[in-house]
Assembly symmetry: C2
Homo-oligomer: 590 residues x 2
Amino acid sequence: MSQPDSTADLFASTDDDRVVGPLKHVRSVTFDGDVALELGGRLSNVCCAFETWGTLNRDASNAVLVCHAVSGDSHAARHDPDDDPGWWDDLIGPGKPVDTDRFFVVCPNVLGGCRGTTGPSDLNPETGQPFGADFPRITIGDMVTVQRMLADHLGIGRWHAIVGGSLGGHQAMAWVAQHPDSTNLCVVIASSARLTSQALGFDIIGRNAIQTDPHFYGGQYYDKPKRPNTGLAIARMLGHVTYLSTEAMEQKFGSDRHDPRQIVSVFEQRFSIGSYLAHQGQKFTTRFDANSYVTLTMAMDLFDLGVNRLQLMETFNDADCQFLVVSFSSDWLFTTDQSRDIVNALTALGKPVTYGEITTPRGHDSFLIAEDIAQYGPLVQARLGDIDTAPASISEVEELILAEIPDGASVLDLGCGDGHLLAALHKRGHQKLVGVEVDQESIVKTGRRGIDVIDYDLNHGLPAFIDNQFDVVILSATLQAVANVETLFQEMIRVGRRIIVSFPNFAYRKLREDYVVRGRSPKAPGEFAFEWYNTPNRRFPSIADVHDLCRQMSLRLEKEIYVDASLGKRIDADDDPNLNADTAILVISG
Amino acid sequence: MSQPDSTADLFASTDDDRVVGPLKHVRSVTFDGDVALELGGRLSNVCCAFETWGTLNRDASNAVLVCHAVSGDSHAARHDPDDDPGWWDDLIGPGKPVDTDRFFVVCPNVLGGCRGTTGPSDLNPETGQPFGADFPRITIGDMVTVQRMLADHLGIGRWHAIVGGSLGGHQAMAWVAQHPDSTNLCVVIASSARLTSQALGFDIIGRNAIQTDPHFYGGQYYDKPKRPNTGLAIARMLGHVTYLSTEAMEQKFGSDRHDPRQIVSVFEQRFSIGSYLAHQGQKFTTRFDANSYVTLTMAMDLFDLGVNRLQLMETFNDADCQFLVVSFSSDWLFTTDQSRDIVNALTALGKPVTYGEITTPRGHDSFLIAEDIAQYGPLVQARLGDIDTAPASISEVEELILAEIPDGASVLDLGCGDGHLLAALHKRGHQKLVGVEVDQESIVKTGRRGIDVIDYDLNHGLPAFIDNQFDVVILSATLQAVANVETLFQEMIRVGRRIIVSFPNFAYRKLREDYVVRGRSPKAPGEFAFEWYNTPNRRFPSIADVHDLCRQMSLRLEKEIYVDASLGKRIDADDDPNLNADTAILVISG
């Protein structure tokens, strides 16, 4: 994020793309009868406001549901170039990752909201007064119930995808938990199975500020001259501080700390960030209802799909869809660890899931910001079906590896690079294929091939996978980059029935000559053309070294294949491969 | 922190050691005349409340000033076993790191506080009413001014040490900035040169909650039936969430999220953390004044010793004392990066400074918690003068290194281990000696020898030091552990006039034989007895490799010393050391 060069930039926030006042393209439908709520109580004649983009195709198979976050609304994107900006314009639109030229996109306002769908500001039919704080306590599940009624109304039996960030991600997961066959794809961005205790603490403080505002009147303020705007503004200020990373805040406010912009406000403005917060807080009160804020944050705080892997697995057990999970490195409100918890439950269940952690300085807000959408958008686009089918180019060594994989085998490729090996297997007809990578560019390339890939560091083992989950686990040209070799070997044995490890042999004749004759660190040719002082490789085993480790760990070697790839020839096992082969492929029993 | 096994533990916080009500051992002094305040205005007949422990010695050279944090008071420690607990009992007391059997310890209540020293709740002589919100805006510098008057009153011309955490650290640094020769030692714990924009944001929100409380009455609430306790409680709740790490909060509240303890409160208690926050918030209002909270947080927010290294260097330029700086890994409110900024200014000025980052899950609160005091306490104790003078044991190779260091040279030892090399130089009479280490245990050992040590990772270069700062820079038996070798070499050249690098030779005869005969990764004997798959070493250069790098970087080799340490013999430079030496010592011009 570049340095602000004017106070206009100082005041910029993702809130700027929110429409204040009437939504020009919103439609609504009112449902007859009652909606039974999860925590008890009912709501009758629920109204659901929504916007749509694109056209529903003949078999209603191209519908994408977009779920908004706490302060959002139905206006996720522009409907035409002159329209008000939408809050997810960079993700949704013609030619965007969620392509409105291909998909029928639906974005409803959530139950409990204040932008058209039934919420606390609406009239309670029993009293003729607004519900206020008497609006029944609702859950994310209740929001989903109303959205499902909307889907029925629109003739959509199964979504092509459900996509949401933050609270929107909660909705996406709740959809799948409640209605396991409701969608082809579930996209969960900057979200979690439940809030951290810290995030919960902040929400509670914000709600307390609203509910103790002298103008709250137990939520019955609609006919009063003043509203609980002070408390609502304080709650929103708190939200803003949590959505930004520490780094982003420093960039925004660090250099001109003592230069506040002058605005009319009851709030302190000694510092630039003070005037920013006051401005954002007040702006929020012009477009959002305090009771809604209480209702929606409480629903988010109650949301709890499980605290441990077993509980999460129970939640997703019946899910019949693919998953895409995305987290952001500097998001301290909805953390990467929380996304990994979700992923680890899905992988353990064998659900098709791709996970990427996007490196960004922009905190929780990232999911709405153009620069970050540029990074994760391609994963969304690919998962929605826009796949790169160009044939993958396979090396000779890789052909030898492929030959060791039985037809139809499920395969886990550790350090899968751009996914070309898995793509070749896919072409061969294999179904269950998963890659593990840490390089973001490689993850996107693998994702673009339509292959599931998980953003995990192999040095932490393979916590995502269960025992004997894969027929084959491949570690190809990756061993030399791994620090925790023993752990990884143990994990590969645990997870795979058969392990295939290929690695460069650091006792290869030419390297020995190098070392002995030149008296220098052996330097493998080709892709290993680094110097001793800057090679990213951590481990430099010879074939004999790896055999020693296998023996020590009592691993059973099923097959040994040795090549001098530089000469394009096979080396027999009894022809001193430790001297004559530059590459080894070992097949080990899991 | 262990899992809470009762709601009593759930409610535990570092606030529990705060005395509510009268302080039994507090004394006070009222100063005649006026105190001129930094931002304009004056206060007359300022009263300063304080407590003391131990006895001032004859030449008043053993006095230690302890500065409390925002919500603190003068009762830093018990005065006898039956006394109320003090907030820093684990650091201060008989036999504790701040040993009250040796030192005369003084802890005053800060100006602007509400525990005895003049503050907003005191009467404004001009109006006969409490100052309230009309209490003049004060700075940390004003707090120091009053403390200096107290020092004069007690007959203390120069402190042996000034020690403070958080806001207390601000005071310690302000003391040195305003009065550069006021102390022998300045100890800055969990602090910063100024708040992050994020921390500032939280403070502003808390103050807004207080100032918009319906019972605030512009700060003139003292004679009203109600006080702005709701706003003050909200501000304190916010503080609590920021003092705990995300991890600590999860441990405390994660497992029983939905089991609140029932307390009487206006605040929401749907969740266990809600009842904790409500309890802590309300408890705070029984012992703290809202106007004081506004006054003190504003002073902390205005505190700004500089945003960049040059400004910080200006601030500390004249300081005539040693420094000890401590930060905590999970403290996200006062970050490690902020402590490093302070350290980098002090090292650039050549001030004697020791810095340690304590690894802990307990967040900002750590500085008050027993388990963390157990880790940093020894550094405080050593810096206060309790030094380990046992002679260091020096290896043969190290004797050769020492022989290359001119008498009286200033020396920087990178990867200094337990500091024994520097201790030997100290014994030889060298004055300017600094170590760099990342291992916490080693840092404490080096500190216990009275040697300055900085907790920095060499892979990030040497940002703490300026060009040509040291006569000699040593990299002894550390090269093999470094990932960013080129960067480090460039940095060593920049910082030192002479560089001495010693390293094991990976082309040593026996290792070559190992490799050639056994066909396995060369494995150096002795301390390098790891396997290829678990060695922590990153680099495996031969003597020739290192020579190549020096040539490539155009470094000038002044001297080459080769040994076969295993045989205890020197190897001549023309006797093929690359084959015959197991260790090399290169002396390079900086």
